[in-house]
Amino acid sequence: MSSVNLPIKELGEIPLVEPGETFHSITERVAKVTETKAPRGWWIAFGIALSLTVILFSAVGWLFWNGVGVWGNNSPVYWAWDITNFVWWIGIGHAGTLISAVLFLFRQKWRTSINRFAEAMTIFAVICALLFPGIHVGRPWFAYYMFPLPNQMSIWPNFKSPLVWDVFAVSTYFTVSLLFWYVGLIPDLATLRDRSKTKIRQLVYGAFALGWRGSNRQWQHYERAYLILAALSTPLVLSVHSVVSFDFATSVLPGWHTTIFPPYFVAGAVFSGFAMVMSLMLVTRMVYGVRSIVTMQHLELMNKIMLVTGTLVGYAYAMEFFIAWYSGNEYEKFTFINRATGPFAWAYWTMISCNVISPQLFWFKKLRRSIPVMFVISIVINIGMWFERFVIIVTSLHRDFIPSSWGYYHPTLIDMCTYAGTLGLFMTLFLLFIRWVPMIAIAEVKGVLPAADPHAGDDHAKEREHEGDESLAHGADAALVPGE
């Protein structure tokens, strides 16, 4: 094997793509998924996901017909699974933006193998999340009142309300994420178009590829656009979940009224997002055989991020307790003691075990690199993060200021169906994505291949050090070509 086929060694000594991968092999590997018949496993998964989606729509139909009372929400727990699911899904979406935008700006080349995946996940997660604010309201047919639409009564939304901020934050997030994802897809869609053997594929991919020809000028615009969108998305990583956390933090409720919420929510969101990417990635990687592109190196890095964010979240949990004690506020103190020892203690300790304890296993390299371990932990983290939102919402609400109105919360079957249904919707969208869209950013991965490095394999290592990273980035970009 010539030196040309040696991969770039950027992060330490380990190649970003396993040796042996070439421009051609990567195109083949990724594009083939959309061109061949779907494996039986895909159909089974799709069947299950679609059934769950049908359950979702049935549950929502039932909800619309009868009212929010079909859920277990009550007084004082006016929000329960609905908002828990909303925040959970929004959080999951975060990894996408973080991987695609923040890591892009920080020139973390290893992101290339997973960013497409993560971005798609973001969009689908945000779709699932957006469902909830719409359906959880008592009169969904008037949900449009939340938008600043001119009307004859001259009533505007209440801009003091964090729920209105939420509307703007989440819809902005969704729009920018969608654009970012789509812009990133253009070269790859062009690849698929060029490989198309049927007229329909040609037309459809051709339409979505927006006439991409891979010219230098197009690349230049593309790179610029991508960079701008990345720059736009980056603050969103912080803002969206901060705003979501304002839903709670600006209230007067003990357990919600907490200044630590914005960073704590962002950390939690990244944490859960990475966990979700991990769960999905491991399955896809196995099924579609893209192990050489999504390497153990990637997985390990993600595990490290999970370890960091998990610990951050653990710190936030501890800090909440500390502040509750330190503030001297009786209600606050009670709320946190009640979380750990009250009727919902089981939820609290589930959350602690899943979110704080389980990622600590990643301190051990062996466990960090073990596929079964990371798969289990990623699932556990997702469960834990769901419980985190549940604990914040339900345990704070169920016992607040006036003891006479304390209560408990039980979900109903419709609650469960709605939640399971959004998982189905997510999976349905995701499976369709895998089936029809290149799930790995072909063009970007090519950029980290040795072939993309004009200096690959030569002895200009020293020279490279002098030139710094910038020239390297340029060199890599220049070599990017669509398709073969």
């Binding site: 929010v68 009169r139 003891p403």
Partner: protein, 1062 residues
């Protein structure tokens, strides 16, 4: 068949041409030109069905559509007009059409039919309700009411301010009685053997029966009626007796107050009512007397009790209440000291107390010797010695009252004690009873049952009541009823008794029928109907008139209720001149002026008789057998004896002490529960003398040990759709000899579980400053004690506070010291504001809709004997309302007067406001609770259906909320607006008291004041400024408009008391 083309006839073809005028005929061209000039659009007056339409169309003013059309027309119009349709015009019309279609599609418009008043009824102004004075019988007390009527439709009950029994207040039963009127399960027509018949058929059959009965002077006829306070009833009954000299009348009520009556008969030789002035009393010893809730005259007692304890400043004095009782009643919750003993031990305590009083020098005559040697077992020494000392120190102002369930001899003893203490004329007055003939209910009923059994009864007329359901078990009323040939039951519904009777006759609601009643103090009131009977129903008086027969009076027809009442009054007034004036005054004021002169001072207490009676029954001693407990049959605060069982408001009203809804339960103390091995929710079986009843147990802190309280009136089987199968029927455990409480009941756990639903399941305040209380001494030392526990926030608000110093600034104040927790305000609010009931299952999910709730907390570490705090809590109308800034759509916002308003139309139901409400007073319509389409609601759901008749109760000034919107207390904003409109019309400023929310208006204890905080002289401003005032959760900076006055208790602080108590 193919449709034939329709061709216009043409004169040239020789067809028949229709023409209108000679001009037209002669010169069609010229006319056409004229027409075109006038109607350029081709709108021809010929085509218009009405001339006016043509006129309109021709007018240029109506020309927008016209110009559009002219723009539109491109070619030749049929009548030859050539017009151009520009593309612009087409688009204009198209856009307008689309917009119209779009608008139309936006709104669901239900099909509604309206009908105008073609002939307006006199004195009816649509939208302006009228109020009529009437009266209801509340356990023997005639409670004067004002009923609000909207266009002839009674909607809301208020107390009659002129009436001494109510003084403008009403209790929860009176408030809820309006819903009984619209009960969908009331029977619609008489029924014979379960088959509906016309009223005329019944009347004919009944008259025939009466005629045949007349043959033996009614020797085999009996009439069973509820105890009455109606002079007309008594008069008509006497007339019936004239016709049927051998007939007998019996009286029965499951919520019987015969003991009270018999006690007075024993003490004075004749039955009489005792009226107590709690306001003037310094010491009150209540012997099992729940005078604040379930006893007769509770409304009056509540007002007067609260007056005796109303503190304006620390130097004021207040009364002290000692309560000796078995169950934990509302009165017990308001007592300064409570002694928990079994119901049978109350008498033992009374004897000990009387003895102590006699020893200390109270002259009791022969009674003293008959007191016996009661054991002091379980009765702490100070409860005898210290209480006696205090009573003697307050001679003339020390009241001893006895509950109706205690035996007659105890009542007599209390009368003797009150007389000896010089209380009579001071804090106790006596009045005559209306029905002197009334016998002891239980023995009277037993007599009837025995006669029925032995075939002495052929005809039984039951005027109201439901003896098959509520007769004591040993009377076996249902079985024996089958032996009677002719049974006629007058009842509001086909209930348990109606089913067992040959005839059922619908009974009119008090708001549908004429009547009269005398209050406990003698006030004579007319029961004025508000509405024609909704069904073919009759009142007791009308049925009695039917029994009197047509010939007895002047005419052929039986006297109507109206005539009967007037006859009585006319006879009583003996005034032929001026009667009409007297009558109309009585109607409009709700009472006969000067009729309360009934009061009299009884002759001396018949001490010897009392002594003999006391000696006959030596004080009961000792414990019950192993595994046996005492059972107390309590009158239910909501159902009474079951008469209100089908009233969803009452079913869903939380019990004042346990907060249980939709059920009754067997209350027992934690200790007894432990001994019996039962927990709350366990179904236990109570059995006694062959009778048994199962009921769910409920551990009630503060209940006496060794005794179980069960409430009457539940477990109905034929009450109606709401009441059937709710709770547990315990009547069969009762017997004539043990009507109110009994020993020797064995308790067995059935092992089954039953879900009892509460609206409040956390009973501790967790040490939080919620319902703040202090003792009188503490208050005197620190008058502003509550403020120490509710500091104001130190952080500045985020934005400038709004200035409310101009205009009105509505506010409310609740005096926790006055509030007894009776729940009347809760029902009043529900009735005024169209608040939905949601059913047990939904309450279990925490979705009750009550805007106003009364929180009940147990205080103290001893769960066997806690203190109780009651706190009414509705929206406190924060000036800085946390609910408002979180609402994304501005559905809840502040009015310039500082009210936190809800715009239901704007609400989309995010529920964030409720989450952010620290007081948790917002209520969300999770489902369509006010009826409407509902698929798959739980079988128990009540909200899926709303019978049309119930909708008649709705207050037209308050929106009926749909599902998905948030609602909460508005301070009765509709009343505020009414008051302001009235003030605007009259040009006078709103005076303090002109505007009163429903809760404040009905509060018998006057605990709630409402008014304008910008008016320095208003009562609410005075109250809010009082030293013991505080804002709930003040530290949050919400600046609530509703403020509270801390509760003051007045415990005995004498050394011997505190020493014993430790």
């Amino acid at each position: 068949m193919k449709r034939q083309p329709y061709e216009l006839a043409n004169a040239e073809d020789g067809g028949a041409v229709f023409w209108k005028s000679l001009e037209e005929k002669r010169s069609s061209d010229g006319l056409q030109a004229m027409k075109e000039a006038e109607f350029p659009l081709g709108v021809s007056p010929d085509a218009a069905p009405f001339e006016g339409v043509a006129d309109l169309a021709s007018r240029p003013a109506a020309g927008d559509a016209a110009s559009l059309l002219s723009d539109l027309s491109d070619g030749e119009l049929p009548n030859g007009i050539v017009a151009q349709v520009s593309r612009r015009g087409f688009v204009k019309v198209g856009a307008a059409m689309t917009a119209l279609l779009g608008l139309d599609g936006c709104v669901r418009r239900p099909v509604e039919k309206i009908a105008p008043y073609t002939r307006s009824p006199e004195y009816t102004i649509p939208g302006i309700p009228s109020h009529y004075a009437t009266v209801v019988n509340q356990r023997g007390e005639a409670l004067g009411l004002l009923v609000e009527s909207h266009e002839g439709r009674p909607t809301k009950v208020e107390g009659n301010p002129d009436h001494p029994a109510s003084k403008g207040a009403a209790d929860l039963l009176a408030q809820a009685s309006i819903l009984d009127l619209y009960d969908p399960d009331r029977s619609t027509s008489p029924a014979q053997g379960g088959k509906a018949v016309k009223y005329e058929e019944f009347e004919k059959a009944f008259e025939l029966l009466m005629e045949t009965t007349e043959a033996d002077a009614g020797a085999k006829m009996r009439v069973l009626a509820a105890p009455t306070n109606s002079p007309t009833f008594v008069r008509l009954r006497d007339q019936v007796r004239q016709r049927f000299s051998q007939a007998r009348f019996h009286t029965w009520s499951a919520a019987s107050d015969s003991n009270t009556r018999e006690g007075a008969r024993l003490a004075f030789g004749q039955p009489m009512h005792a009226n107590y002035d709690y306001a003037r009393a310094r010491v009150i010893v209540s012997l099992d007397c729940d005078f604040l809730q379930t006893e007769p005259g509770a409304v009056r007692a509540m007002r007067s009790f609260a007056d005796g304890r109303r503190l304006r400043e620390p130097s004021d004095t207040m009364s002290r209440l000692y309560m000796v009782e078995s169950t934990h009643s509302t009165t017990g919750a308001n007592a300064d000291h409570r002694l928990r003993v079994r119901a049978r031990d109350v008498e033992r305590y009374a004897r000990l107390l009387a003895k102590e009083l006699a020893t200390a020098g109270l002259e009791l005559g022969p009674v003293r010797g008959a007191l016996g040697d009661a054991s002091t077992d379980g009765i702490p020494d100070p409860w005898v010695k210290s209480v006696a000392k205090e009573i003697l120190a307050n001679r003339g102002r020390a009241l001893i009252v006895v509950g109706t369930r205690q035996p007659a001899r105890l009542h007599a003893l209390a009368h003797a004690l009150n007389a000896a203490l010089g209380n009579v004329g001071q804090v106790v007055t006596y009045t005559q009873v209306v029905d002197v003939a009334e016998q002891d209910h239980a023995s009277d009923l037993r007599q009837l049952a025995l006669d029925m059994d032995s075939g002495k009864v052929d005809t039984l007329v039951i005027l109201g009541g439901n003896p098959v359901y509520d007769a004591p078990g040993d009377v076996k009323f249902g079985d024996r009823l089958a032996k009677v040939k002719n049974t006629i039951h007058l009842s509001s519904r086909i209930d348990e008794t109606s089913k067992a009777c040959a005839w059922h006759v619908p009974l009119s609601h008090p708001f549908e029928a004429w009547g009269d009643q005398r209050s406990l103090d003698g006030t004579w009131s007319i029961q004025q109907p508000l509405i024609q009977p909704l069904r073919e129903s009759k009142s007791e008086l009308e049925l009695l008139s039917l029994m009197v027969g047509g010939m007895m009076e002047t005419g052929d027809k039986p006297r109507s209720g109206y005539d009967s009442v007037r006859d009585t009054l006319r006879q009583a007034s003996r005034a032929t001149i001026g009667f009409e004036k007297q009558w109309s005054t009585a109607l409009s004021r709700g009472l006969l002026p000067g009729s309360a002169s009934f009061a009299f001072t009884p002759s001396d207490v018949k001490s010897a008789d009392i002594a003999a009676e006391l000696a006959k029954a030596p004080a009961a001693k000792g414990a019950a057998g192993a595994g046996q407990v005492e059972v107390v049959f309590a009158v239910d605060s909501k159902m009474v004896d079951g008469r209100h069982a089908n009233n969803p408001w009452l079913c869903e009203l939380p019990d004042p002490m346990t907060k249980i809804v939709w059920d009754n339960a067997a209350y027992l103390s934690p200790k007894t529960a432990g001994e019996l091995g039962v927990a709350s929710g366990d179904v236990i079986e109570l059995s006694r003398e062959g009778a048994s009843a199962t009921i769910a147990a409920w551990v009630l802190p503060g209940h006496a040990d060794g005794t179980i309280t069960v409430a009457l009136g539940w477990g109905r089987t034929a009450a109606g759709r709401y009441g059937n199968g709710r709770g547990f029927d315990v009547n069969r455990l009762r017997s004539v000899d043990a009507l109110h409480f009994t020993d020797g009941v064995s308790v067995k756990s059935t092992g089954a579980k039953y879900e009892l639903t509460q609206t409040q399941d956390h009973h501790s305040m967790e040490g939080r400053p919620v319902a703040i209380d202090a003792t009188l001494d503490e208050y005197k030392a620190t008058p502003n004690f509550p403020q120490y526990r509710t500091p104001s926030p130190r952080t500045l608000p985020l934005w400038n506070r709004r200035d409310y110093s101009q205009g009105h600034r509505w506010g409310m104040n609740v005096d926790l010291s006055a509030c007894t927790g009776c729940n009347a305000c809760v029902v009043a609010c529900q009735s005024e504001n169209n608040v939905a009931t949601v059913g047990k299952e939904q309450v279990g999910r925490g979705r009750e809709m009550l805007w106003l709730r009364v929180d009940r907390y147990f205080i103290g570490t001893d769960e066997a004997d806690p203190k109780v705090a009651m706190q009414p809590l509705a929206c406190v109308q924060c000036e800085e309302a946390p609910c408002e800034n979180v609402c994304p759509v501005n559905a809840t916002a502040h009015s310039p007067e500082g009210l936190n308003d809800m715009a239901y139309n704007r609400c989309i139901g995010t529920r964030y406001c409720a989450n952010n409400c620290p007081y948790k007073v917002r209520r969300f319509n999770y489902l369509e609770f006010q009826g409407g389409e509902q698929v798959g609601g739980a079988p128990e759901a009540l909200y899926g259906e709303m019978p049309e008749v119930r909708k008649l109760q709705f207050n037209p000034n308050v929106t009926v909320r749909m599902r998905g919107v948030m609602e909460k207390c508005t301070y009765c904003v509709q009343r505020i607006q009414e008051g302001k409109i009235a003030s605007k019309r009259s040009g006078q400023p709103v005076r303090d008291g002109d505007i009163t929310p429903a809760c404040a208006q009905t509060c018998p204890a006057n605990a709630i004041t409402f008014g304008d905080l910008n008016d320095p002289t208003s009562r609410v401003t005075q109250a809010a400024r009082r030293d013991r005032g505080y804002q709930l959760l003040s530290e949050l900076g919400t600046h609530p408009r509703t403020t509270y006055l801390g509760k003051i208790r007045n415990p005995n602080t004498s050394p011997e008391w505190t020493k014993e108590k430790g």
